[in-house]
C-alpha cells in the first residue's frame, strides 16, 4: 500500500477511522520527497520536524477520542508566498531570504485546524511574477512529466509537488493564471476561486485586486474538500466575501439542462492544434453527458494582456514598496544613507522580472501617463467583466483551453517577456472579472505532456463548475503520472 497514491479525501477518512496514523502518512510523503525532489526541485523548504510533530498531535488527539478534522493527516504543501509561522517565507526572492514568518496565514491556520500536516514550502516565480517558475532566485523546478519542460508558473512548485504525489494537495495563488496554467502543464486540477472567497491574510500581496489563493489537487473531490476548508469569510481580509464554499458533493449522473459556451475569441489562430483538439474532445464528453453547447463571445479578450500588464505591475509597484531593507529580509550593507539603503537593497535584492514589472507599474502610474495607461486599463477591465456578465446570461459555464500551448521547454521564452506574457492570455480574463475558474486535465499531447481544459463560472458559482468537472472526471478519468 503506497500512501502517496491516496487522495486527500481517502487519507482523511482512514486517519479518522484509525486504519493508518497521520505519522505514517507523513513519513510516506517525506520518503517520496527524498526520492524525487532532487530532480523535480519543487520545494524551497521541507518542514519535516514541524510536520511530524503536527502528525503526532493528530494521532494523539484520535487516541484520546477526539474528533478529527476534515483533513486529518493530509499532507499539504504551501506556495512560498503563504505564511507558515516559524518557517521562512521567501517568495523565491533574495530580498526575503532569511525572513521567518511571524504568523500563520488564514489558510494555513484553517488547514492546521482541520488537522492537515504542512510538509513544506514550494518554489515559485519571484513574488509570483512569471509563467514558468524560471524566475525563482533559488532553483528551477522541472515538470514531473518531462524534466526538459517547465512546470508552468508562477505556482510551479505547488503544481509539481501535487502531480508527483509529494503531497496530497497544495496551495498556490493565481493573479493572472498562476494556479490554472501550471495545473494544466503538470496534469493536475487547479482551482481559482471567486475573488474574495478565500482570505488572502498572510499571502504576500502581488496585485491585490486580482490575487486569489486556491488548491492543486489530483481529483475534483479533493479540490472541493480543500476549498471547503480554506474558504469562507475572514474579518482580517477586508476584501473577504461573506459567501461560504459548499461541501463536496458526488458527481451528478448527467449534465442535462447545463448550457456550456465556447468563447469564439479563445479558439483562434495561434492556438496549438493539439490543445484545440483535446479541448474540443473534452467538450464533446460534456455534450455526451447531456450539456448543450453553443458559441459565445467575449469581445474584449484581445485587450487582456495589455490590460493585465498595466494593472498588475501598477499594483505590484505599490505593494512591493514595503521591501525596503528595514524590517525584514536583505539589506545592501554598502549603503551610506537612507535613500541608498532603499535603492541599493531593492536593486540588488529583486530579480530582473520583478524589477521590470516595478518599472512598468511605476511608469504607468507616473504623472503624465496615468490616464493613458492605468486609468484606461481600469476602464477596459470593466468592459472585460461586462463581457462575462453578458455571456453568463446565455450560458451556465464557459469551456476553453487553459493555455495556448502544451508545456514549453526551459529557456524557450525567457529572453522575450512578451512571449512569456502571452502564455496567460486565456487565464487573465477570469482574474479581471473576479469570477471562478479552474483547469482540469483533458488528455496528453503526442509527446505525452498534459493538456488542460479550463472551466469558467460566474462569481460564486463554484458548485456548478465543480459538479460539472466531477461529471467529466467520472466519464473521462485523468491520466495519472507513472512512477
Amino acid at each position: 500500500m503506497d500512501l502517496t497514491e491516496f487522495t486527500a479525501a481517502r487519507i482523511a477518512t482512514i486517519v479518522q477511522n484509525g486504519e493508518v496514523t497521520a505519522e505514517a502518512v507523513a513519513a510516506a510523503h517525506f520518503a517520496r520527497i527524498e526520492k524525487l525532489d532532487g530532480t523535480i526541485k519543487a520545494f524551497l523548504a521541507v518542514t519535516k520536524d514541524q510536520a511530524l510533530a503536527q502528525a503526532r498531535r493528530v494521532d494523539e488527539k484520535r487516541k484520546k477520542g477526539g474528533k478529527l478534522g476534515l483533513l486529518a493527516g493530509v499532507p499539504v504543501a504551501l506556495k512560498d508566498n503563504i505564511q507558515l509561522k516559524g518557517v521562512e517565507t521567501t517568495c523565491a526572492s533574495k530580498a526575503l531570504k532569511g525572513h521567518l514568518a511571524t504568523y500563520d496565514a488564514t489558510v494555513t491556520e484553517r488547514l492546521k485546524s482541520a488537522d492537515a500536516v504542512v510538509v513544506g514550502k514550494t518554489n515559485l516565480d519571484e513574488f509570483a511574477m512569471g509563467s514558468s517558475t524560471e524566475n525563482s532566485a533559488f532553483q528551477k523546478t522541472t515538470n514531473p512529466w518531462d524534466p526538459a519542460c517547465v512546470p508552468g508558473g508562477s505556482s510551479g512548485g505547488s503544481a509539481a509537488a501535487a502531480a508527483a504525489r509529494m503531497c496530497a494537495f497544495s496551495l498556490g495563488s493565481d493573479t493572472g493564471g498562476s494556479i490554472r496554467q501550471p495545473a494544466a502543464f503538470c496534469g493536475v486540477v487547479g482551482l481559482k476561486p471567486t475573488y474574495g472567497l478565500v482570505s488572502r491574510y498572510g499571502l504576500v500581496a502581488f496585485a491585490s485586486s486580482l490575487d486569489q489563493i486556491g488548491p492543486f489537487t489530483r481529483t475534483i473531490e479533493d479540490a472541493e474538500l480543500a476549498l471547503s476548508v480554506i474558504g469562507g469569510h475572514d474579518p482580517r481580509d477586508t476584501t473577504s466575501a461573506v459567501n461560504a464554499p459548499a461541501a463536496p458533493a458526488p458527481a451528478p449522473k448527467d449534465l442535462k439542462g447545463l448550457r456550456i459556451g465556447l468563447p469564439k475569441e479563445y479558439f483562434i489562430e495561434g492556438l496549438d492544434p493539439e490543445v484545440e483538439k483535446s479541448v474540443r474532445a473534452a467538450v464533446a464528453v460534456l455534450k455526451s453527458l447531456g450539456a448543450s453547447v453553443s458559441e459565445v463571445s467575449l469581445p474584449h479578450t484581445k485587450y487582456a494582456i495589455a490590460t493585465y500588464y498595466i494593472i498588475a505591475p501598477s499594483e505590484a509597484s505599490s505593494n512591493l514598496a514595503r521591501f525596503d531593507g528595514i524590517r525584514y529580509g536583505f539589506i545592501d550593507k554598502g549603503a551610506t544613507n537612507l535613500q541608498e539603503v532603499y535603492e541599493m537593497t531593492r536593486g540588488a535584492g529583486f530579480g530582473s522580472e520583478v524589477k521590470r514589472r516595478i518599472m512598468l507599474g511605476t511608469y504607468a502610474l507616473s504623472s503624465g501617463y496615468y490616464d493613458a495607461y492605468y486609468a484606461k486599463a481600469q476602464r477596459v477591465r470593466t468592459l472585460m467583466a461586462n463581457d462575462f456578465r453578458e455571456a453568463f446570461k446565455q450560458v451556465d459555464l464557459i469551456a476553453a483551453p487553459t493555455t495556448p500551448t502544451p508545456p514549453f521547454r526551459f529557456g524557450e521564452k525567457t529572453n522575450d517577456p512578451i512571449a512569456m506574457y502571452l502564455s496567460d492570455i486565456f487565464t487573465i480574463p477570469s482574474n479581471m472579472a473576479g469570477n471562478a475558474s479552474m483547469s482540469l486535465p483533458c488528455g496528453l499531447s503526442k509527446k505525452g505532456l498534459p493538456l488542460g481544459l479550463q472551466l469558467i463560472a460566474d462569481v460564486f458559482q463554484e458548485k456548478k463548475m465543480l459538479s460539472t468537472a466531477r461529471a467529466y472526471e467520472a466519464a473521462q478519468p485523468f491520466a495519472a503520472l507513472k512512477g
Partner: protein
C-alpha cells in the same frame, strides 16, 4: 515608442531601484516593446465606461480600531537586518 536612458533612470529613481548601466539599456528596450504592445488599448472604446475599482462592488469595511495583543514582538524584530534593542535601526535621516 522609445524610452530613453533618462526616462528609465527617472522611473528607477521613483521606484527606488538602483540599476546598472546595462540594466538601464536592457529595460529601456524592453519597456519600449512592452509599451508598444499596449498601444492597442487606445482602440478600445471606453467612453462612458467607469473604471473597475472593485470586482465585487465591495464597500469600505470598517471596524473599531482596537489594539490586539501580539505575542511575539521579538520575532518581528529578529527579522530586521539591523536593529538596536527593541528598535528597527535606520540610517540618519536628519542632518
Amino acid at each position: 515608442m522609445s524610452v530613453s536612458d533618462a526616462d528609465v533612470k527617472k522611473i528607477a529613481k521613483l521606484a527606488r531601484l538602483r540599476l546598472s548601466e546595462a540594466e538601464v539599456v536592457l529595460y529601456g528596450g524592453q519597456l519600449a516593446k512592452i509599451l508598444d504592445s499596449m498601444a492597442e488599448l487606445a482602440m478600445a472604446d471606453t467612453s462612458g465606461v467607469a473604471p473597475t475599482t472593485s470586482v465585487l462592488g465591495a464597500v469600505n469595511v470598517m471596524r473599531d480600531d482596537d489594539p490586539k495583543p501580539f505575542d511575539d514582538p521579538e520575532a518581528l524584530l529578529a527579522n530586521a537586518p539591523e536593529r538596536d534593542g527593541p528598535y528597527f535601526k535606520v540610517k540618519k535621516v536628519i542632518e
